[in-house]
Amino acid sequence: MEARNYSPKDFRSDIKPVWCPGCGDFGVLNALYQALAKLQLPHEDVAIVSGIGCSSRLPGYVKTYGFNSIHGRALPVAQGVKLARPETTVIAVAGDGDGLSIGAGHFPHMARRNIDLTYIMLDNSIYGMTKGQMSPTTVEEQPTKTTPYGMVEDPINPVKLALAYGASFIARSFSGNIKHTVQMIIQAIQHPGFSFLHLLSPCVTFVGRDQFDLIRSLSVDLGNEHDPTSVEHAWRVAEEVGRISMGVIFEADKPTFEQRYEHAKQLAHQAGDGDFRNLLKKYRVAA
């Protein structure tokens, strides 16, 4: 195959994004173009699968395979793509409403299955596409159209969930910091197994411009003292209050679904169960 030299703009599709001016998702899109170029991934070897919501418009803006699938179902659809086309780099994109509300049930199973795909959650803590209702990550002091006088429910902490579910890679970034986001996307894609990237991406329209400033002011870099192979360290980050740590929070070396599946096949073969005729013999009734 001829060598191709991809630049970020090679991944730009000819569809103009319809996000609001100033939307955090532009930063994610830019970072994704750069990450795909840095990885030199051919267009045809990448599939981006989304659910429904503002963030789920993203696949249309990237020149790779793209799926704008069903609300909450980015993960199971992405899983299907990966099983059918294992050589493809599969990226699932979901929002906080998409991935932590209607589609939350898929998250634990994808994590424990450890299928080799990347799950990027664009968290703006609001339902932006339906114009500003509370989401599972809306915080108490943030009024929304369905909670005009403030939240009456506790927000979900997606990193805690990912840790509890056994995700083998967990990172966090902020779309206002494109350079960092590029790094995190690259590492998430390179990680073998299920990788979860919690990507804070503000909604300027329904939360407000302050969301950028607030996240920036709370952001801290995970320093060298943080050991991402330590579950304890990771929990400490997940539990932190009053600041938002950015970087690779957790990374474990765990066999992927694909590897374990192959292993099971080998065991079956060694046991002789792989041969259909042998199986039939077990059920033969004497004439």
């Binding site: 569809i15 395979y65 793209g66 069903i70 609300h71 509300s101 596409m129 369905t146």
Partner: protein
């Protein structure tokens, strides 16, 4: 009091006047404003109800089921994909005989993703055991929402109030809001026949063997057979209270009509204007609006179309491999009737494409011109192969 409001808010006001007690919903375009307004009314204390924004439509209907079984007047609203996700629980609500009211904004199903109007979402739920009432105007939306609770609670069956995406949901029209005292007289508080009550304990949703299940189904069907009468009675009573009468169907210029257009929802308003125009030219055209789809008003349809020469049914929906859904239901109602009209089936306006007066004129012209239908389905306004679609460019997937 008259107020100019969008169709979605007409639903909200209807629910508020009905003094709903539990509202459980999930956002989806183009429904969201219904529950947004209700959440605001709850938060301000103008409505004594518990409002919960749950994690999916499936959960929304589940919470309504629990609330209704608990003895509360329960309400939700959804659209399209959301209604499809509720499907399992729609069966449950009806099977459990819970008088839940649901407002569905008719929106086309994906893919390709569409937020525009089409009836296939609600019509696909026709066998779930829900009554279905289709609305033509925002006034009808508000009035029907209130009547829906009375109908539902009389029959112990859930009712779906249905309105077109954007043509009603987001369109502002003057709506007369009945006063609360009048509504309280018309719709007394919910008195559940069975509820969670320590003095009269019941189990809910238990396993039912073939010994009993069959009779449960028979009872539901019997309730549906009573429903046509109940809907008419409630519509009449509403008229006595508030001056606006409602029935199963609505006839316009039907007395000596030779050709009758059969419509539902907002297409009716356009058709009415066209019929008026054709009448002015001396053509004997009439219009029949189908308001109630479940229970299907067999007798009323037969009577209304008896002696009519030709009828043209306009469907903004399709049952693939079959017909427009209103068309096939009307056809089955007319089977074996000696004086039934020749029935023409038209599909129009799928995915929210405009059904303009020209579209209706075309339909009348075809029906006038042909002595009997030349096609199983007439697709009106279909772009021919040579014609370039003007739809916006969608994501290019290579």
């Amino acid at each position: 009091m008259k107020k100019v409001m969008m169709g979605n808010h007409a639903v909200s006001y209807g629910a508020r006047l009905s003094r709903v007690q539990v509202i459980s919903a999930y956002p989806i375009t183009p429904q969201t404003q219904i529950v947004e307004e209700l959440s605001e009314l709850c938060a301000r204390g103008e409505l004594e109800a518990k409002f919960i924004k749950v994690e999916s439509e499936h959960s929304a209907m589940a919470a309504c089921i629990g609330a209704s079984a608990g003895g509360a007047r329960a309400f939700t609203a959804t659209s399209s994909q959301g209604l499809a996700l509720m499907h399992e629980l729609l069966h449950w609500a009806a099977g459990a005989r819970l008088p839940i009211v649901l407002a569905n904004v008719n929106r086309a199903m994906g893919p390709g993703w569409s937020i525009w109007s089409e009836q296939t979402d609600s019509l696909a739920q026709r066998d779930t055991g829900w009554l279905q009432i289709y609305c033509e105007s925002n006034q009808e939306v508000l009035d029907t929402t209130i009547q829906a609770f009375k109908i539902a609670e009389t029959l112990s069956l859930p009712v779906m109030v249905i309105l077109d995406a954007f043509f009603l949901s987001h369109t502002y029209e003057p709506v007369d809001i009945p006063d609360q005292r009048g509504i309280d007289r018309f719709l007394p508080p919910f008195q559940p026949k069975v509820k969670m009550d320590i003095r009269d304990p019941h189990a809910f949703g238990a396993l039912v063997t073939p010994e009993h299940y069959y009779e449960f189904r028979y009872n539901i069907q019997k309730a549906f057979e009573r429903a046509t009468g109940v809907i008419e009675e409630v519509g009449r009573e509403f008229g006595e209270h508030f001056g606006r009468y409602y029935g199963l169907l609505e006839e316009y210029e039907m007395d000596d009509a030779e050709i009758v257009l059969v419509t539902s929802s907002t297409i009716t308003s356009t058709a009415r204007a066209v019929v008026r125009e054709r009448r002015a030219r001396g053509e004997k055209i009439g219009l029949l609006k189908v308001r109630v789809f479940r229970p299907f008003p067999f007798a009323a349809i037969r009577q209304a179309l008896s002696g009519v020469r030709k009828a043209a049914v306009i469907d903004r929906n399709i049952s693939f491999g079959h017909h427009g859904i209103f068309f096939s239901e009307i056809k089955s109602a007319l089977y074996g009737q000696p004086d039934a009209p020749r029935l023409f089936g038209f599909i129009a306006g799928l995915g929210g494409r405009d059904v303009t007066p020209e579209t209706i004129h075309d339909i009348i012209d075809i029906t006038q011109h042909e002595s009997k239908p030349q096609q199983d389905i007439y697709w009106i306004g279909l772009k021919s192969a040579g014609q370039k679609a003007t739809a916006p460019k969608t994501a290019a997937v290579k």
